[in-house]
Symmetry: C2
Subunit: 344 residues, 2 copies
C-alpha cells in the first residue's frame, strides 16, 4: 500500500507546476485544453486522491451549521435531540465547524419564521420542518444559494427522501399494527387514539396513522374491528372522559395505539380505570413513557433514536461542507422497546 500520490509528484510527472495541477483539479480556467487532458489522464492513471485534511487546512474556511428545532422546554421529546446536537457541536469543532441551535416554539409559526431569518447567515441548515410553507421557503432559499439543507425527525410533504434523516412513519405505523395484531386476540378490537393531531408535526402522525390502518386493508389483511378516537389536544381531563366512555361502549377493545409520545396520558388514564390489561403501544422514550413501560402499563414503545438522528444530521452536513461528500444520510431503525430492552 504505497502512499497516495500528491499534487507535487503529479506536477513533476506532468512537467507542469502545481498551480496548473490545482487549476485542472478545480477545473478553473487558464489551462490549455492540451495540458488539461494530459493532467486529467495522469490523475486518473495514478488514482490521485486529494488529502482532505491539507485541503481543509489550506482553504482556511470556517463553516457554520444552523439547527432549526423546537426549544426542548416546549416538549420533552426534543430533549434528546438537543443532546445530540450538543455532542455533535463538540465533535465538529475540530473541523472548524460551529453548530448553533436556533430554537423556535413548536406551536408558533411566527417564531419559526424568526428563527429561519437567523438561519440564512449559516452555511448549512438542519431543521425540523414543522411549518411547511415557511420551511419550504427556507429550504428553497438555501438551495438557491447552493447551500445544503437537511430535514430530520419530520420530512416535508414532498421532501426528498435523500435529504431526510428520520423514521419512516408509515412503516412504523404498519409495524405497530402488526405488533398489536400479534399480541391482541383476533376477536378483540383495537383503538387508535389521536392526540394533539393539530399540535405540531402532523406529518409523522399522519404517516403513523395511515400505516397502521393500511395494515388491516387489502385482500390478505387480517380482519379487525378498528375504533378511532380523536382526543382533545391539551386537555387531559376531557381525554379521560372520552377514553372511559369508549372503553365502556366497546368492552371488546383489546389494545390501544397512540401514534405519538403522548401515550403516557392514556397510560395514566388506564391506571385510573384499572384497565392495565389492555395492550398499549406508543412512541418515544421520554421519561413519562419509560415510567409506564417499566410498570407494564405501556407494553411497547417505538424509539426513534432522536439523539442519533440529530448527531448524524450535523455530521452529514459537516462531511458535505468539509469533505465534499455526498453519501446518503441512511435510515433510522424502527426500534421496538419493551421493558426488557429498556436501557437502565
Amino acid at each position: 500500500m504505497s502512499k497516495n500520490i500528491g499534487i507535487k509528484e503529479l506536477a513533476k510527472i506532468a512537467n507542469v507546476s502545481i498551480g496548473t495541477i490545482d487549476r485542472v483539479l478545480h477545473n478553473r480556467q487558464g489551462v490549455s485544453e492540451k495540458t488539461r487532458q494530459r493532467v486529467l489522464a495522469l490523475i486518473e492513471q495514478h488514482d490521485y486522491k486529494p488529502n482532505l485534511l491539507a485541503k481543509h487546512l489550506a482553504s482556511r474556511k470556517q463553516f457554520s451549521i444552523a439547527v432549526l428545532m423546537p426549544a426542548s422546554e416546549d416538549n420533552p421529546v426534543w430533549q434528546p435531540y438537543v443532546q445530540g446536537i450538543e455532542k455533535a457541536a463538540r465533535d465538529m469543532e475540530k473541523f472548524s465547524v460551529t453548530v448553533d441551535h436556533l430554537p423556535f416554539d413548536q406551536y408558533d409559526p411566527q417564531s419559526f419564521e424568526n428563527a429561519a431569518e437567523g438561519a440564512s447567515a449559516y452555511d448549512a441548515l438542519l431543521m425540523v420542518p414543522l411549518f411547511e410553507k415557511a420551511a419550504m421557503r427556507l429550504k428553497d432559499n438555501f438551495a438557491r444559494q447552493g447551500k445544503s439543507c437537511l430535514c430530520f425527525d419530520t420530512n416535508l410533504p414532498e421532501g426528498d427522501e435523500h435529504l431526510f434523516i428520520g423514521q419512516h412513519a408509515f412503516q412504523a405505523g404498519r409495524l405497530c399494527a402488526s405488533l398489536l395484531n400479534y399480541t391482541v386476540p383476533a376477536d378483540r378490537s383495537l383503538l387508535l387514539v389521536n392526540l394533539g393531531r393539530k399540535a405540531g408535526y402532523h406529518l409523522n402522525f399522519w404517516g403513523r396513522e395511515n400505516g397502521f390502518n393500511s395494515f388491516f386493508k387489502g385482500k390478505d389483511a387480517p380482519q379487525r374491528k378498528l375504533i378511532a378516537y380523536e382526543g382533545p389536544i391539551e386537555q387531559a381531563n376531557h381525554l379521560e372522559q372520552g377514553i372511559a366512555e369508549i372503553l365502556q361502549k366497546s368492552p371488546n377493545i383489546g389494545g390501544i395505539y397512540v401514534p405519538n409520545s403522548r401515550v403516557y396520558w392514556v397510560a395514566h388514564i388506564l391506571e385510573q380505570l384499572q384497565r392495565t390489561d389492555l395492550i398499549l403501544l406508543g412512541f418515544d422514550l421520554i421519561p413519562e413513557n419509560k415510567k409506564y413501560l417499566k410498570r407494564g402499563t405501556i407494553d411497547f414503545l417505538i424509539n426513534q433514536h432522536p439523539e442519533n438522528q440529530a448527531y448524524r444530521g450535523v455530521e452529514w452536513l459537516m462531511q458535505r461542507l468539509v469533505f465534499g461528500e455526498k453519501a446518503e444520510p441512511g435510515s433510522t431503525p424502527i426500534d421496538v422497546v419493551m421493558r426488557e430492552n429498556l436501557e437502565e
Copy 2:
C-alpha cells in the same frame, strides 16, 4: 465566536517561540519550570485547542487498523460486517488510516492464531474474539504496547464493556422471551432450539439463552412450560427428525425461539411439517431468514446491525488514533424486525 487561538498567537503573548509552546503542550523536557507554568496558564486562560487537522497533517503519521473477523464465505452472517469494514476503510482513507481485514476460519482456532500474528504489526485492532484464550493473549499484547483494541459482535467473557461494540446478548434473550410471551397464548409452551452451540461464538448464544430463561424465573415471572432442544450442529436432516418428534410429543408448543441465525433451518422444517402457525423467532437479517420472514414463517428477527457495528468499530479506533479521543463506543440497539419494517 472569535476563531480559536493558535500556537503562534500563544507564542507571541507568552514571549516565547512556538517551539517552546509545542514543548509544553506535549510536556517534553527542555523548558524551565517558570516558562512552563507561564505558558500553561496562558493555554488555560485562552482555552487553547489544537487544530487537529493541522496536527495530523504535520505529524505525517500513517495509521493502520487490523480487523480480525471470520471470512464472509464461512457464514453469511459475516457478510454485512465485511461491508461495514469496507465502507469504513474508504471513509478513513482521508485520515491516512488504512484498514485491513484479516480473515480467519470461525471453526479453526489455528487460523485465528495465524491471523492474530499478522495483526501485531498494526496500530490498532478490531476483532471478533471467537477464541477466548488466543483473543485474550492478543488483547493483552496490544494493551502492553499501549495500542487500542476493541471487540465487536461478541465480547470476551471478562471483557470490558467499554471496549465492546455489540448487542447485549442477555437483554436480547429477555426481549425475545417477552415477545413470545406476548404473542403465544399463556397456556401453550415454548420451545428453545439450540443449534450449533459448539460451533463458534458461544458467548452470544449463551447470553441469549440465559436471558430467555431468566425471563420466566423469579417471583413475578409469567408461568410457562419451556422445552429445550439441543439440535445437531451441521446436520439439517437430523434436525428435521428431532423437531418433528418434539412437536409430536408436545403438541402444546406455541412458539419457537432460536437464539441464532440458523432460525431459517427451523423455518424450513416448519414449512415441511405445515406448522407455520407456530410463532418463530430468531436472529440476524441474513437473506435466508429474510425470505422466511417475508413469507410469515418466521415472525420476528432480532437485528444486530452488523454493518453499523463494524463501521463504528473502525471509526472509533480511528478517532483514538488520529484525534486521541476516548469517548465510549455506544451500544447497539436490540432491533425487532417484522415483515412490516423489513427494508425493501
